[in-house]
């Protein structure tokens, strides 16, 4: 990397005086660049690029962390393709994303629109933002109880007030994943709301007033003026939400009962990465999962970037 920071232009033709002065200045700046970039370059090489390459290599090996590393080519990936647990974790991750992304976007936007230019905005904002700053681990602990099927308050409210017999959320796989999505959405509303509010603030009132003069009602104004002008914010938050949903771990780790048949049914990709490497010391398979996650995120983000041309309106 040092090579990239060394001065250039040594071969430049021209009057003898000028290039040398230029060279000297560049040398000095190149030196400063090394100084200023040094710490972050160390971080980039030692904690990101190096580990990334090593992880790619590990995904092609079999290793328990102590013995010899055996190169096995694409065997790990072939194993994943035939592994029920892998497809289960893919399904769970996708299913979570399908619930979480629209859930976070819609609730965040709804609260932001309701709050925009309204009294007591600051107070509401504080309240809605509270879960954002609290630890997902601690929040999961609360929800484990709230959602408890036999003596949790949620089900008893549903039963006593609405006559609904709710399922035991945490004991049935088909409800546990939606429950995790619900907790994630609950915790994210505040963040999405505040970013949407900033987006709404950026919409020039002139457009809305013009639409009003043309006789547009509230809904039409929202649909034809506000929403198109909000698409850059929506685009950014969609990517944030997608990436977040695919990397969800804390809530899954906390809300999945340990050592039970349920444990397998709620695994996500990131949970598998953790479990395989740090509980079962199967570093090769774990790295293979991580590579799959990396590729998935790349495809998703690239896909969004391509799609954005169709639906994101940037103001001139």
């Amino acid at each position: 990397m040092v090579a990239t920071l060394t001065p250039s232009d040594t071969s430049q033709a021209g009057p003898p005086e000028r290039p040398r002065r230029r060279e000297r200045k560049q040398t000095r700046e190149g030196g400063w660049a090394v100084v200023f970039l040094g710490p972050q370059m160390v971080g980039l090489l030692v904690f990101v690029l190096g580990p990334m390459l090593f992880a790619l290599y590990l995904s092609l090996t079999e290793w328990n962390g102590i013995g010899d590393i055996t190169f096995v080519g694409l065997d790990n990936f072939r194993e994943l393709a035939g592994d029920h647990a892998f497809w289960q974790s893919m399904r769970n991750t996708l299913w979570l994303a399908v619930m979480i992304v629209p859930g976070q976007l819609i609730t965040g936007l709804a609260v932001a629109v309701a709050l925009h230019q309204r009294k007591l905005r600051t107070l509401y904002r504080i309240v809605y933002f509270m879960p954002v700053v609290t630890s997902q681990v601690a929040v999961s602990v609360i929800w484990i109880w709230l959602l408890n099927g036999s003596f949790g308050p949620l089900n008893s409210i549903l039963r006593d007030w609405f006559g609904i017999n709710a399922p035991d959320w945490l004991a049935e796989p088909s409800y546990l994943v939606p429950a995790i999505a619900m907790v994630t959405i609950w915790q994210g509303v505040g963040f999405f709301m505040v970013v949407f509010l900033a987006g709404l603030q950026g919409i020039p009132t002139a457009y809305l007033e013009a639409a009003e003069v043309d006789g547009a009602g509230t809904l039409r104004k929202f649909w034809h003026v506000t929403l198109p002008l909000l698409t850059p914010t929506l685009f950014f938050l969609t990517i944030m939400s997608l990436i977040g949903a695919f990397q969800i771990f804390d809530t899954v780790y906390m809300m999945t009962p340990q050592h039970s048949y349920l444990g397998d049914s709620t695994r996500t990709i990131v949970f598998q990465i953790y479990d395989l490497a740090f509980a079962r010391f199967d570093f090769g398979s774990s790295a293979a999962y991580a590579v799959v996650l990396f590729v998935l995120l790349l495809i998703l983000t690239a896909g969004q970037m391509v799609l954005q041309r169709r639906w994101v309106h940037y103001e001139e």
């Binding site: 400063w32 200023f36 580990p51 609950w186 505040v194 804390d250 780790y253 991580a290 990396f294």
Partner: protein, 281 residues
Amino acid sequence: MSRRRTSPAEVTRSVSLHVILIAGALLTVVPFVWMILSSLKDQPQVFVFPPRWLPDPARWDNYADVWRAAPFLRAYGNSVFIAVMIVAFQLVTCAMAAYAFARLRFRGKNLLFLLFLATMMVPGQLTIIPVFLLMANIGLYDTHWAIILPEGLFSAFGVFMLRQFVRGIPTELEDAALIDGASRWRIFWSIIIPLLRAPLAALGTFTFVSSWNNFLAPLVFLRSPENYTVPVLIAQFKGEYSTNLPLLMAAASIAIVPVLVVFVVAQRQIIRGVTLTGAGK
């Protein structure tokens, strides 16, 4: 707008909106209230059917029990230490790199910057295994530095965001200082850093909050309970006391309530930090 008469329809709309907003606010707050109330119950009260909201009698000893059962004070100290160190390292090194990218001329600058940006796509879960092996090999496993160094020494986002702000600073001041013979180092510390106060505060807040709530890294890198951060201690506590719900709620309260108090006091700065940084991401 303000001179316009408010019609009855508008009043109805405003009222119904507030009703919905209050309902949403209750949904947000009630879990925390439930947590605090339940943390004061004793075991039999938990299994009362139908569930009761208020603890009767309140059992404050739950907190003493939690305090005795798990080293929460220590975990708080650990969490604060890690977060403060990460913030300090990140602010200094990111600002330095941002200054280099914004102001210095050197070969391969654009390519290198692109490389920084590209790493934002690399999920931390891909690099955590090799970083874990590295830490184990250099003797930093089960120390706080295993968490501090990777976070503190690299943040593509921090570099990117601060670079934008450095580019927004007019160069005249620097040019004058350069002519006077000031070094880049001096210029950076005495001209650039003071002008970056607001974005540095925002980035610092954002980094602090994410470090505070980080779970995967401390879970992987720390083994001894006396090194645990608050989230890891909570997770371990949950494993041991999974049937003692009041104690669990007391532990969760110990983790959450102080954070909420700090948040409410500094909400403007915290919301700005988390979203300014988030919105630029």
